[in-house]
Amino acid sequence: MTNRTIDNNRRKFLKQAGAGMAAVAGAGMVPLRSYADDTLVVGMNIPMTGDYAPWGLPGLYDCEIIANNINAAGGVEIGGKSYQIRVAAYDHAYDTEKALQGFKKLVLEDDAKMVMMLGGSTVASVLPWATRKKVLTTTLLPSDITPDSDYLFATCESHPLYNVTGVVWLAQNYPEAKKAVIVTNNDAEYGLQSAATYKAAFEVAGIEVVDVNLHGFDVTDFAPIVSSVLAKNPDIFCMATSFYVTPLMEQLYHQGFDGKIISCTLDYYEEIIAKTSEEFVNGTIYQFPDFDDPMLNNEGIHFPDPGGFDAAFRKDHPNDWSAVAWEYPAILLNWIENAQRVGSGESEDVAKYLRNNSQNFVFGGGDWWGSQLWGLDHALVGRWPVVVIENGKARIQEYGDLSAWLADHTEVLVRHMKELGLRTV
């Protein structure tokens, strides 16, 4: 993650240096930006630099690809009028102050009709203002949803709920695996949410969790952590984290773990293979597909030309594909679809439509969920892919039915969330 961030940062810097210098020269009281009447602006208030950049920047690249394709094809027709789509981005570097500034800039100065965000504390900082001003906002972390966040929706990623589909698949295909350990960073935004979900999924699947290791963000040496959990002789090593997957995988490799590995994400798995071996990484289960996967051409997938999209991204950004690369575009496409249905791109109109109508989820299905956990049914859940590394390549094995699991086991999930001290209604 760190090396990737640095690479991203370097590339970002080289690209932005020229533009940045020009911006510096002209900074100050420049007039408000105005776009033509036939342009709809969509905002991205995301981390493009810093440790969280891999969960922002690839999404921006992809939204630009989507917007360029739409515009090249003549734009989108909304309410009987054709519009060009423009993506306006603000780099908040995962800082709450900047997130608030950026959000206001996008809405009030760039006239963004919808603002996409990563989630966490940056969403919390904009939420009071966004709710007051009725600005349609999206997050990749449904745990940001609160009982009164009327304009916040999670229309794509249902972190960390989808993790249950991986566990269900693992239990079905490897019934002999009965003991699991969970390792994650001890934070309420990402790690603990995932840990609670995995614990619930393992309990439902009849798998015993023999150790949960919660470590801080300042850990640099994962050898002792991995040693201590492997001492419990687990059949399954579960990474309920997205931050430290690479160093954990390296340690598992060096310490000779030969059980099943399940993870929330496996970003930049090619690097992991390079640092370990293809044989070792093969069989790792996680939840985020590459978009050249043949299974994405199946019926029920609600994403146009995934293969072409994947190729277009990798042509310009060969090493930047991450879990979020397709998520922001999926949110953008969902917004366009809803704006077309309601005949308006205005925040309030689209938000109202979202609240009251069923949706097509990117991988099929699509139910609003969340009131049992966060107070509002503003998280769109549907089928979610279970991905396994095969011959050094990510391949979807099946689409798990998240809605069905939640319908049957929500109380288990809520219990585990509460046990870890996480916010529930």
Binding site: V24, D91, A93, K104, A124, S125, L127, P128, A188
Partner: protein
């Protein structure tokens, strides 16, 4: 007397300028202005701590203590902002007073490291104890202040509120420095053995500066979080502490206005260079090194240096 009037006039003009400034700024720049004014109080209060010669690395955490105190009082106990704001300062000040007992058993470098360790212990406890601190997510949906139906969620009213409170705090900090206590703090810094020889309890004065500075930064913390609406531990980490140090060193810590100058100029530069976020730490590092090498007394010494250069150059010119 004339100089005093001139200073007063300058302050009045600056305040008048600040009163109209937000109306000419873009929306997100109004937010920036609020955070800048809060940071002025942060750095001015830190300077009070350093007057005794002890530089701490806990000031950002003290700001966090104020922020968490006010956030928790308003969110969980329904306190009014107007009560939680001074209490934020009181709790931060009391924490500093308690920490003074172990920390001021040391001085200089050991105090610096000790304060860092104490600060990290506090900050990590906010992360570890999800109840009541909220872990890394912190506490969100903090209420805005309420007064006479004014909408403090909007930037301009909140800016005026911040400006009023920060101005009042700065006046108090200035008066402290110019009082007998302030002179004693300087004496503790520059002539500690001599001060002790005439009966001054240096431990007491170091504690007083540390506690008072922490109290004011606690107020700054409360001001900030009730505008953002959320308080998280990452806002008050060592990264922010480094910024405070750089603002003070670059601005200069010998005069009251030097530190303020540092935070204003660097923050504006920072905002202008935000497109180059990736190299910002490197730029800050380079600026710090250059100032230490070539302008060790900070920006505050620049007019004097220029004046002396001109004076030094003139006679030479006339000879030639």
């Amino acid at each position: 007397m004339l100089a005093k009037h001139r200073t007063l006039m300058t302050i009045v003009l600056i305040l008048a300028g600040l009163l109209i400034l937000p109306h000419y700024l873009k929306y997100h720049q109004q937010d920036f202005l609020i955070f800048l004014v809060v940071n002025v109080l942060v750095v001015a209060s830190y300077r009070l701590v350093t007057l005794t010669g002890e530089w701490s690395l806990i000031h950002a955490v003290m700001m966090g203590i104020g922020a968490y105190t006010s956030g928790m009082l308003t969110k969980f106990l329904d306190f009014s902002f107007w009560i939680s704001l001074p209490l934020a300062g009181v709790v931060a000040g009391l924490t500093a007073a308690l920490l003074s007992f172990p920390l001021f058993r040391t001085t200089q470098f050991y105090f610096l490291i000790g304060s860092f360790a104490a600060g990290e212990a506090i900050r990590l406890s906010w992360i570890h104890f999800i109840r009541p601190f909220g872990g890394t997510s912190g506490i969100s949906a903090l209420p805005s202040p309420e007064l006479l139906g004014i909408d403090f969620l909007e930037p301009i009213p909140y800016f005026y509120l911040t400006l009023a409170i920060v101005t009042a705090c700065l006046v108090i900090l200035y008066r402290i420095e110019k009082s007998r206590i302030g002179l004693t703090l300087h004496a503790v810094h520059w002539q500690a053995p001599l001060a002790e020889s005439v009966g001054i309890n240096t431990w007491n004065y170091r504690t007083l500066a540390f506690t008072t500075g922490s109290m004011f930064v606690g107020i700054a913390g409360a001001l900030k979080v009730h505008y953002i609406g959320t308080v998280t531990p990452n806002q008050y980490g060592i990264g922010f502490m480094v910024f405070i140090l750089i603002w003070l060193i670059v601005g200069g810590y010998k005069t009251f206005y030097g530190a303020i100058l540092g935070v204003i100029i660097l923050s504006i530069l920072d905002e202008m260079f935000r497109e180059l976020e990736v190299i910002r730490p490197a730029v800050y590092g380079a600026v710090l090194i250059l100032f230490i090498l070539y302008l060790p007394d900070g920006l505050e010494s620049l007019p004097q240096k220029i004046a002396s250069r001109i004076k030094g150059a003139s006679p030479k010119g006339s000879h030639s």
